[in-house]
């Protein structure tokens, strides 16, 4: 890495926007410097596609909007998109050989909305193939390195997004979260990430994985920066059949999340020295069991103590089916994946085998060649649980369990306002550690899967580091709220970030 990108000279996205409004800096300068930073950090392998011409075109449009006085909330802010979002101009692969070189004829709704808000895209970010994985080692285009410790994974599946934000190559990035794919890499890379309530952000143009679980969310340096992105991303979209028109009493539209944030902040301001007085934090016993490493436990406990110092009260709760979320998720997600990925047949787009006889052989061979190991495994198991004679025992049973898990959360949330715990049981593992055991990562998703099955919003906030040999490996605190509570979660995290500086730490520049 060479020079830090220009946007790092500003405290946050709000400060950056003010500087742009003052014309103290231009969008083109910011974009050029972020492009340089991204290119010189090539050894992280965070980016899959950079196209300076496309980026600079957006930056010039941002400068023109600023000059004309019609800038949006993110005009000129350098961001980047997970490669699971389709983009016009930039290639979209979802980390798969299957889609190598694919050029989408349209932009995902999230991409379109962020562009309308004025954000400038620096390019496309590496991820686990079709967003399946927790270490970014399932990308067909090589693993991403964790900027804190380049021997470690960045987490996944939004590993490139988390690494790019941790290394401050961009001010923020988009991610997708099906079973933890925003929260877990955010935790492992020491950045702030939020998965909003299912249905609040459009899935249109996200390369589909598990349609009843997939949600997009931002990763950024701070809760306030995550708010800036999420507020622009969220909103009803008629092109997504599961997009919600209303969030409780409120319309699902840009501005909703910020209003929730502002309302919560007003209450905390009024509370004075103990801003979080009256806030009940549920701490589930099952999230602090034997599988949790000591170093993560210590960092999360310290964060909980910090929240108590801010006036919050700790309440012991139980989420009795926490471990059962693993089998439920690993039936439902692969089942939906097997159905969604049936579209890759080598006919209209995607990889086609060079040698084949009839149509069936063409399709089967193209799929065998185009999909990587984890994706192939999940399609096979997903096909099995949906097949005749097994559907009731596996798929329907998992869907029933899913309802019980969602009800457990609702019951717990009558005893508390938010739930807190770890995001992942350990700090980032070494690249290559899980090579011989494909399901080891599955079990490590235990604290994130239930939330995804229930469709609840949850975020990851940096709260410390490991110890000893892991002293450069970050730990994240998970904050879980009830449906549509994104604004409040972000406000609570913001209060924590007022009194801690974990989110401001940046990895030392390394020569890998």
């Amino acid at each position: 890495m060479t020079k830090p990108a220009l946007h790092t000279e500003f405290a946050d996205i709000a400060a950056l926007r003010q500087a742009l409004d003052r014309r103290a800096v231009s969008a083109v300068e910011l974009a050029s410097s972020a492009l340089d930073a991204a290119q010189s950090a090539g050894d992280l392998n965070a980016f899959l596609h950079i196209d300076a011409d496309l980026t600079l075109e957006q930056a010039r449009a941002a400068d023109a909007a600023l000059a004309a006085g019609n800038a949006g909330p993110l005009t000129g802010v350098p961001i980047a998109h997970k490669d699971a979002f389709v983009t016009r101009g930039w290639r979209t692969t979802a980390g798969s050989r299957m889609l190598e070189g694919y050029l989408s004829p349209f932009d995902a709704t999230v991409v379109e909305r962020l562009q309308q808000a004025g954000a400038v895209s620096i390019g496309k970010l590496n991820c686990d193939e079709f967003a399946m994985g927790s270490g970014n080692e399932n990308s067909a285009f090589g693993p991403v390195r964790n900027p804190w410790d380049t021997g470690a994974v960045p987490g996944g599946s939004s590993g490139g997004s988390a690494a790019a934000v941790a290394a401050r190559l961009v001010a923020a990035a988009t991610g997708t979260d099906t079973g933890g794919s925003v929260r877990q890499p955010a935790a492992l890379c020491g950045v702030t990430g939020i998965k909003p309530t299912y249905g609040t952000v459009s899935r249109f143009g996200i390369v589909a994985f598990g349609s009843s679980l997939d949600q997009a969310g931002p990763l950024a340096a701070s809760s306030r920066d995550a708010l800036a992105l999420l507020d622009a991303m969220a909103g009803f979209d008629p092109r997504d059949a599961t997009s919600v028109e209303h969030c409780g009493k409120d319309a699902n539209e840009p501005g909703r999340v910020r209003r929730g944030f502002d309302a919560a902040q007003a209450g905390y301001d009024a509370a004075g020295a103990k801003p979080l007085s009256g806030l009940r934090i549920g701490v589930p016993a099952e999230y602090f069991g034997a599988g949790l490493s000591d170093e993560v436990r210590a960092a999360v406990e310290a964060a909980l103590a910090q929240f108590e110092a801010l006036g919050a009260r700790r309440v012991d709760i139980s989420l009795p089916r926490t471990e059962l979320a693993i089998p439920a998720y690993y039936v439902i997600a692969p089942a939906e994946a097997s159905s969604n990925l049936a579209r890759y047949d080598g006919v209209r787009y995607g990889h086609r085998a060079a040698q084949y006889g009839d149509l069936t052989e063409m399709i089967s061979r193209s799929r065998a060649e185009g999909f990587g190991d984890e994706v192939r495994r999940r399609i096979l198991i997903g096909t099995y649980v949906l097949s005749h004679g097994y559907y009731d025992a596996y798929y329907l049973q998992a869907q029933r369990l899913r309802r019980l898990i969602a009800q457990d959360f609702q019951r717990a949330l009558t005893q508390c306002d938010v739930i807190m715990g770890p995001v992942a049981p350990t700090v980032a593992k070494n690249i290559g550690d899980n090579r011989d055991d494909p399901t080891a990562d599955w079990l490590a998703d235990v604290y994130t899967l239930g939330i995804s099955l229930a469709g609840l919003p949850a975020m990851s906030v940096p709260c410390g580091f490991g110890t000893g040999a892991h002293e450069r490996r970050p730990v994240g605190l998970q904050i879980i709220g009830n449906y549509f509570d994104e604004g409040r979660l972000l406000a609570i995290a913001d209060r924590y970030q007022h009194v801690t500086d974990w989110h401001q730490r940046v990895p030392a520049t390394q020569d890998a």
Partner: protein, 102 residues
């Protein structure tokens, strides 16, 4: 209940994923490993519980919308070209596949 090689061949055929004999043996081992994790589902009594397809059905009635049956894209030559430029094999605006009927 463990799968055997025949099951794996059947699943692979349903999934339209070609497996070489060597890969099939490997897949058998992997699938049984995954099933071992998934089998824990059966521990829970879910008698009378309504399966949950949409997570928000935990708190509200969810009805999926149907869109109006209306043409939304122009269907222009350039739109068609943009859609077809990703095709592995195309000719005269058509996707080419191996002969299906003799």
């Amino acid at each position: 209940m463990a799968l055997n090689e025949e099951d794996v061949a059947r699943i692979a055929r349903l999934a339209r994923i070609e497996l070489t004999p060597e890969r099939r043996a490997h897949a058998l081992q992997e699938l049984n490993g995954m099933l071992h994790i998934i089998e824990r589902l059966q521990q829970e009594d879910t008698e009378g519980v309504e399966p949950m397809a949409h997570p928000l059905s935990a708190i509200e009635d969810v009805a999926l919308r149907l869109r109006a049956d209306r043409v939304t894209e122009s269907g222009s030559e350039s739109e068609r070209a943009a859609l077809m430029r990703n095709a592995p094999e195309a000719q005269d605006g058509l996707f080419l596949v191996p002969k299906v009927l003799e």
